[in-house]
């Protein structure tokens, strides 16, 4: 659409004006880490963040989301999207949002996600600091982010703002933007190319080779049990993953014991009972009973199962799972490299 420039000295004024008009969610500090949170003041915004604890999917697919409310046996839908600007998303997280957009839309369109997504304007930004476990430069290299409405790149003296949709262009009204010149555009392109080389960890094979070799390793039960030996089955790797979207659905009563809500909450395939079924008369069957089988399922989902429909792996290399895993066994780089290197 258009490529604009805003001076560093005008940038906070732009964010402030946008906040007056819109609800803006962006990276903010939480003790020594970062989270996506609703901005209350301009100086809270930390576009120099490395990675957030939870991915931005929580805006469209909250950790707990009421699907229906009920009074007795009468239900009402809870889909009520609130317009927001999601500001300052790294490119790997935009790629993850592209995947959840596709997955919640395919087969049966789930408006509980899609309506929130539609109401959100997403502005991406350059990775200024890199998370210590990130590997975004070596995964899904052929897949480019596409679902955002604009992208901000920090260059000398200010920011280049590329608007990609009308939702992104609308934000130009809030700042003193001028057309970017060729030198500024070239500098922005260079910054964005270079950022992809900065992730410290590296998967040592291309996506299709990884998919083939990981799929082939399915029957190596001993290997998978070894990978998962120290797993606590806590599901933290699932919870922090920007492309995980499994959930549980539970009904909860209000205090009146008459009304309540049917609510979905994030679930994870690493949890021990995730694939368990009651068969009646005290019997049950767990279709992924061992830690190794659950660990394998996650890696297969990320590296193999969905590749065809997503056009690449269902992992974007953010490194959040590696950071969150208490036993430090979740890192896909270690698992995949060990498999591809035999």
């Amino acid at each position: 659409m258009s490529v604009k420039f805003i001076k560093e000295t005008d940038f906070n004024d732009f964010v402030g004006k946008m906040m007056e008009a819109r609800t803006v969610v962006g990276p903010v500090a939480k003790k020594t880490k970062f989270v996506f949170g609703e901005l209350e003041s301009v100086d809270q915004l930390r576009l120099d963040y490395d990675v957030t604890i939870l991915p931005p999917k929580k805006l469209f697919f909250p950790p707990r989301q009421d699907l229906l409310k009920f009074h007795g046996q009468k239900g009402t839908s809870c889909i009520c999207p609130q317009p927001k600007v999601l500001f300052g998303v790294h490119y790997y997280d935009i790629k993850a949002i592209d995947q959840t957009d596709f997955l919640f839309n395919e087969n049966n369109a789930d408006q509980n996600y899609l309506a929130n997504r539609e109401a959100t304007t997403i502005i991406g930004t350059t990775i200024q600091n890199v998370s210590p476990r990130a590997f975004f430069g070596s995964v899904g290299k052929n897949v480019n982010p596409k679902g955002h409405d604009g992208f901000l790149t920090r260059i000398n003296g200010g920011w280049v703002f590329e608007t990609l949709t009308s939702k992104g262009r609308d934000l130009l009204d809030f700042g003193k933007f001028i057309d970017a010149d060729d030198a500024q555009k070239a500098e922005a392109a260079k910054v964005n190319t270079e950022e992809k080389t900065k992730s410290p960890e590296k998967i040592k094979a291309e996506g299709d080779v990884v998919a083939q070799k990981v799929r082939k390793s399915f029957s190596e039960d001993e290997l998978w049990e070894e990978f998962a030996k120290d797993c606590f089955s806590c599901g933290s790797c699932n919870i922090v993953c920007p492309t995980c979207y499994c959930f549980d659905v539970q009904d909860n009563w209000n205090v009146d014991q008459h009304s309540g809500a049917r609510t979905r909450s994030w679930d994870g395939c690493l949890k021990a009972d995730f694939a368990e079924c009651s068969l009646g008369q005290g019997a049950c069957e767990n279709f992924r009973e061992t830690k190794g089988s659950r660990f394998r399922h996650r890696i297969m989902r990320k590296a193999v199962y969905s590749n065809e429909k997503l056009g690449g792996p269902a992992c974007v290399g953010c490194g959040r799972c590696s950071l969150s895993c208490t036993a430090d066994i979740a890192d896909p780089v270690n698992v995949i490299n060990r498999i591809v290197e035999g």
């Binding site: 009402t76 889909i79 659905v249 009646g280 089988s293 297969m300 199962y305």
Partner: protein, 285 residues
């Protein structure tokens, strides 16, 4: 209808999770823990499912459970469900009686491939509660008997008191429309059981199964591999075998991940699968 969250009067957006009301017209305990329900849609609509498709049945405040339709769409004005009391939701649903309302999302998933079964010899092997979803096909075949060649049914239960659809069994035992064979795993003297005793595979001695038979299997997880071994002996190719799988189908719309087997979601890609589609998928059977 206004938005349920903030009464903002925004236009209502279709919600996949909104159930429809079904009115219960009859109920009957089939065993001490398993109840039979006859229902009709409260809005008067006719049934529109295929044999083998599933429903998510619920009561607000308790939750949803996946069930198979127990009736064929040839029965147009009502449908039947069978619920075994196992957990919180099924126990609550089993307390419902005629005149009560059950909440249903249906039809979900893919059922039996009728186009591939028409004009063929069909055999159904049902163990335990597996008779419930396969009854949707059994009734379909017996209602449209001319469309199929020979029809054989194996049914096995744990003991005689666990046999479901006893009125149907009486009909099937004497019917010319179905070659019916039954067995129980075990029985005691009071059961006065005169039929076959032993696991379901013992019935293979009594029936002739030719390689061109289309075979449908539905039962407890342990049953599949032993039945497949028998079908192998009868030279039935994998392409002719269909399995109706049970998984924890929580959302029923291919999103929540609980029923995933490799790249398949049982709730939308199944619950009925061609065996040849699954034999490379390690966690399927």
């Amino acid at each position: 209808m206004a938005c349920g969250t903030c009464n903002c009067n925004s236009p209502e957006i279709e919600n996949l999770f909104m159930p429809k009301e079904a009115l219960i017209t009859e109920t009957k305990w089939m065993t001490k823990d398993t109840k039979h329900f006859v229902l009709k849609w409260a809005d008067g609509s006719k049934v529109s499912h295929q044999p083998g498709q599933i429903v998510e049945a619920s009561l607000f405040g308790f939750g949803e459970i996946p069930l198979g339709f127990a009736t064929s769409p040839t029965q147009e004005n009502s449908f039947e469900l069978v619920i075994r009391q196992v957990g919180r939701v099924s126990t609550a649903l089993c307390k419902l009686e005629a005149g009560d309302t059950m909440l249903i999302r249906a039809p979900l998933g893919k059922g039996f491939p009728l186009d591939e079964l028409r004009g063929e010899k069909v055999m159904i092997i049902a163990g335990g509660l597996g008779i419930v979803p396969t009854r949707s096909l059994i009734n379909y075949i017996t209602d449209r008997r001319d469309e199929f060649k020979s029809f054989t049914l194996f049914y096995g239960a744990r003991n005689p008191s666990e046999l479901l659809f006893k009125e149907d069994l009486v009909k099937w035992r004497s019917s010319k429309d179905v070659h019916y064979f039954e067995t129980v795993d075990g029985c005691c003297e009071e059961d006065n059981w005169k039929g076959n005793t032993g696991v379901i595979t013992t019935l293979f001695k009594q029936a002739e199964v030719t390689p061109d038979t289309k075979v449908i299997i539905c039962g407890p997880p342990i049953m599949y591999r032993f039945v497949m071994m028998e079908l192998y002996k009868c030279n039935v190719p994998h392409e002719n075998v269909y399995v109706d799988l049970e998984r924890r189908m929580k959302c029923g719309v291919g999103k929540c991940g609980h029923c995933q087997i490799n790249d398949k979601y049982v709730c939308i890609d199944g619950p009925v699968f061609k065996y040849s589609e699954l034999d490379s998928k390690e966690e399927a059977l």
